[in-house]
């Protein structure tokens, strides 16, 4: 096996991993602040992309190159859709089942678990009614493929890699680190984490817990939109892809250690690499089977995650 091939597998894996890291980041943000497992997060990623497609290209999209104006329109639409969908899920499917001391309402985990799953199912089913095809090509507003003249990166040993793959890796890691730094350093991020550390004390300081839930979901929704923008172009996307993407994001988050934002990014890269190696060694059938098996085994053995 020559160096170029190794590099090809590794870079492709890390590129997919950068996207998984962004998905995991959104999941961890919510798990860390609201103490809720956001089981519809992956569906929000895919649904926000298709909301952009529906808005810009309509129900029979043709993946042509978008002009600058429509590219901006597409990006903004995807991000807004991510935030709106996540916010709706927070208000309708999650918040009613969180504990509320003032109203004497106990926590209802089955409520928000099933609420999240129902929300994801509804997103998939409604999108599936609007977009009946098996898969869709999604336009790339960032035009990552046109970074080099032939759309390829030439690796030593004669093997090549789509330049998109490298672009997604670079942008994904960059965005992930920036968002992570923002959440760790900014006032906004600090107040979110203060609520997570001690909800009672935060409530005493006048922080509105209900609004924090909404804000955390909105932020995670924006992250979902970002992940979708990077991930969706360049392959055929099906409206059903979201669930497994979300579960892979959760596996990445668990790999990186629960509650750790940086761990989520690292976990994403690790899982992407693992997936690429598994597919290289064991065939394409392991594409989804490998990460899902890892998730089930992780949950059965160490539900608290690998770190700590």
């Amino acid at each position: 096996m020559d160096a170029g091939l190794v590099l090809q597998v590794v870079l492709a894996g890390l590129s997919a991993g950068a996207v998984l890291g962004l998905v995991a980041l959104g999941f961890t943000l919510i798990a860390g602040t609201v103490r809720v497992l956001h089981l519809a997060h992956g569906d929000v990623v895919v649904a926000s992309v298709f909301a952009g497609v529906l808005g810009v290209l309509g129900r029979t999209p043709v993946a042509s190159l978008l002009g600058p104006g429509r590219s901006v329109e597409f990006v903004l639409l995807v991000l807004a859709a991510g935030a709106v969908l996540a916010g709706l899920i927070a208000v309708v499917a999650v918040r009613p089942y969180l504990p509320d001391v003032r109203r004497g309402r106990p926590a209802d985990a089955l409520g928000w678990v099933a609420g999240g799953v129902a929300a994801g199912l509804l997103l998939r089913a409604v999108l599936g009614l609007l977009l009946p095809q098996e898969g869709y090509a999604v336009p790339d507003p960032l035009r990552l493929a046109s970074w080099t003249s032939d759309g390829l990166v030439h690796l030593p040993g004669g093997s090549t890699l789509p330049v998109r793959t490298v672009g997604v890796l670079v942008l994904g890691v960059l965005v992930g680190v920036l968002v992570e730094e923002f959440l760790v350093r900014s006032r906004f991020g600090r107040s979110l984490r203060a609520v997570a550390d001690d909800p009672d004390a935060a409530a005493l300081c006048g922080v509105n817990a209900g609004r924090v839930v909404l804000v955390a979901f909105l932020a995670a929704g924006l992250l979902a939109g970002l992940a979708g923008l990077l991930d969706a172009p360049g392959r055929a996307v099906s409206v059903d892809d979201g669930v497994v993407l979300g579960l892979e994001g959760i596996a990445a988050a668990l790999l990186g250690g629960p509650g750790s934002l940086r761990g989520a990014l690292a976990g994403g890269l690790a899982l992407g690499l693992l997936q690429a190696v598994a597919v290289y060694a064991g065939g394409a059938s392991l594409q989804d089977v490998a990460p899902l098996s890892l998730l089930v085994v992780l949950l059965a053995l160490r539900p608290q995650g690998l770190r700590r």
Binding site: L39, A109, V113, L122, L129, L247, V296, L299, A300
Partner: protein, 566 residues
């Protein structure tokens, strides 16, 4: 409705009843019953006639066993994790199985699935048997099976094993403190759920001679969950009604789809999601309306036999207790001696290690030496301590909703009993002397804490003082000789405090050792025989109340602090 349709609905009911055991009886959120149905269905198709060619019965049994094993493996991890993670694990399992079915078409037939000769023959040369499994035969067999399962659920609901499950569902940590083996009960229940799911899958595969991934998809898992949640908590008819609704669902979805020119699978998805949301929203109100008051109380109160022991024997002796959390010392070589017939108060400033000491005595932490009635006792967990007669009440009021006051106490009475085969014995036997004996225990415990008047009441309607006393009664009902009470007077009015004082004297007067963690020095002065003072994890002083009060170090460290919380 043809015989095939009826048989198919009944096989689905088997999976739903199995799921109900986990979800609505034991409170485990299982989102992946479809995965276990798949193991049964594909196992039978792959191993049985038309596949490996094993005899049909053996192929079915093997795949049910395999699903049970898989369920057990998931449950081994899941019994340790909190509810939401179990939901996640089972949801991931549902998708994993679905993706495996699609990823290996050579083995599983991919999206088309597998076909097998139908109707199947059940052949046994040894018995001279060659039974053609027509749909009618299926209906008879599976109807009997469903009746038996419903019978099991009804019995579970009425008896002590069901009470264990209720405790598991309503308050897992409390159930553990009352001696119920939470983890092993969860494993048992979950394994049964998985096995019944597999049986359902095997049955409908044999019936139809066909299995495809869409029959065992995550969507089916969610539909089964809807079916189970429809009846609310612990009601056997829930799954029955739910499966009836599910059977009506496809025709409705298909009609909607054809009239609107929409995709059939998608419109089923929309309907399922809508049903799930509706069921969740209705769960609360309908559940409250249907909630029935508890069963009538047991036989009339037998007067608690006062058991006065003038010698005041040492019931519990602990020494060399060392605990630190992340380098912060919580207990340093602490110890305590508890005698029967005495109320022993444990006082000390916040963070002095009172709760940690209680945990160590209750078997929650393993440190030092703990002797129970003169014999060194090693406890692996809280349950082990409960079995030798040491029970603790939680610091906060933990009430299991949906269980009447006396049932809450009955949970405690169950806890001390040996758990092995209790379920089996309960299912086979009629209400026994054992159960009537238990009712007497409950009544006696309620009598001792002066709560006989609340039998059958909704515990959430009780005053917080009565709720505190109910916790004590629950611990008493475990048969404990040593009671560890963590701030039982918290949140009580002055009247309730003096009532509590009387109850504590009664409990001690009946020969028990009572350890009382308390801030209110007036209450301590009124009821305690002895006091132990903790300061930064060390025993500052221990002895009769007056002696300790006079101790200079105690006056400095504790009593001297002006803002002693009342």
């Amino acid at each position: 409705m043809s015989a095939v349709d009826l048989a198919q609905a009944l096989w689905l009911l088997v999976a739903a009843l199995g799921l109900a055991l986990s979800v609505s009886y034991a409170g485990l959120p299982v989102l992946g019953q479809g995965a276990f149905v798949a193991v049964g269905a594909y196992g039978t198709a792959l191993l049985g006639p038309g596949g490996e060619g094993w005899p049909l019965g053996i192929a079915c049994a093997a795949s049910v066993l395999a699903a049970g094993l898989l369920g057990h493996l998931v449950a081994v991890g899941a019994s340790r994790i909190e509810g939401a993670y179990l939901a996640l694990a089972t949801w991931a399992l549902a998708w994993l199985v679905q993706r495996i079915l699609l990823a290996y078409p050579d083995l599983t037939g991919g999206a088309d699935g597998l076909t097998r000769p139908s109707p199947a023959h059940l052949v046994s040369p040894a018995l001279g048997l060659d039974l053609v499994l027509t749909p009618t035969v299926h209906v008879v067999v599976v109807a009997l099976l469903c009746l038996a399962l419903v019978g099991v659920l009804v019995r579970l609901d009425r008896g002590p094993a069901g009470l264990d499950l209720a405790a598991l569902r309503e308050g897992p940590s409390l159930a553990a403190s009352l001696g119920i083996p939470v983890a092993s009960r969860r494993r048992t229940v979950f394994t049964a759920t998985a096995a019944l799911g597999a049986l359902s899958g095997a049955g409908s595969t044999v019936l139809l001679g066909l299995v495809a991934p869409s029959d065992v998809s995550p969507l089916v898992s969610l539909q089964l969950l809807v079916a189970v949640l429809l009846g609310g908590t612990a009601r056997w008819w829930g799954p029955v009604l739910g499966v009836a609704v599910l059977t009506a669902l496809p025709p409705i979805a298909d009609a909607l789809a054809t009239s609107g020119g929409l995709d059939v699978e998608r419109s089923r998805g929309v309907l399922t999601a809508a049903l799930l949301v509706a069921v969740l929203a209705l769960r609360g109100p309908v559940g409250r309306r249907l909630a029935h008051p508890g069963p009538p109380p047991g036989p009339p109160a037998t007067a608690a036999a006062p058991h006065h022991d003038p010698a005041r024997p040492v019931l519990l002796q602990a020494s060399g207790l060392d605990v630190s959390y992340d380098g912060v010392v919580a207990l340093a070589d602490a110890g305590i001696v508890l005698r029967g017939g005495e109320v022993h108060a444990l006082i000390g400033p916040n963070g002095s290690g009172k709760s940690t000491l209680l945990k160590a005595l209750a078997g929650d932490l393993s440190t030092g030496t703990v002797e129970i009635a003169g014999i060194v006792h090693h406890a692996r967990d809280v349950q082990d301590r409960v079995r030798v007669g040491v029970a603790r009440t939680p610091q906060h009021n933990v009430v299991m909703p949906r269980l009447a006051a006396d049932q809450q106490v009955a949970v405690g009475a169950r806890g001390g009993a040996r758990p092995s085969y209790a379920v089996v014995r309960h299912l086979l036997a009629t209400p026994s002397s054992r159960q009537t004996g238990q009712a007497a225990v409950v009544t006696r415990a309620l009598d001792e804490v002066g709560l006989l008047h609340v039998v059958g009441a909704d515990p959430q309607r009780l005053t917080s003082g009565d709720q505190r006393l109910l916790q004590v009664a629950r611990a008493v009902a475990t048969g404990a000789r040593v009671l560890l009470l963590d701030e039982p007077a918290a949140g009580m009015t002055a009247d309730e405090r003096s009532r509590l004082g009387g109850v504590l004297r009664t409990l001690a007067g009946n020969g028990r050792a009572v350890l009382l963690v308390e801030h209110d020095m007036r209450l301590v002065g009124e009821v305690a025989d002895r006091v132990t003072v903790l300061d930064v994890g060390r025993v500052l002083a221990t002895g009769p109340v007056d002696v300790v009060r006079a101790h200079p170090a105690v006056r400095r460290a504790y009593l001297g602090i002006p803002e002693v919380p009342a």
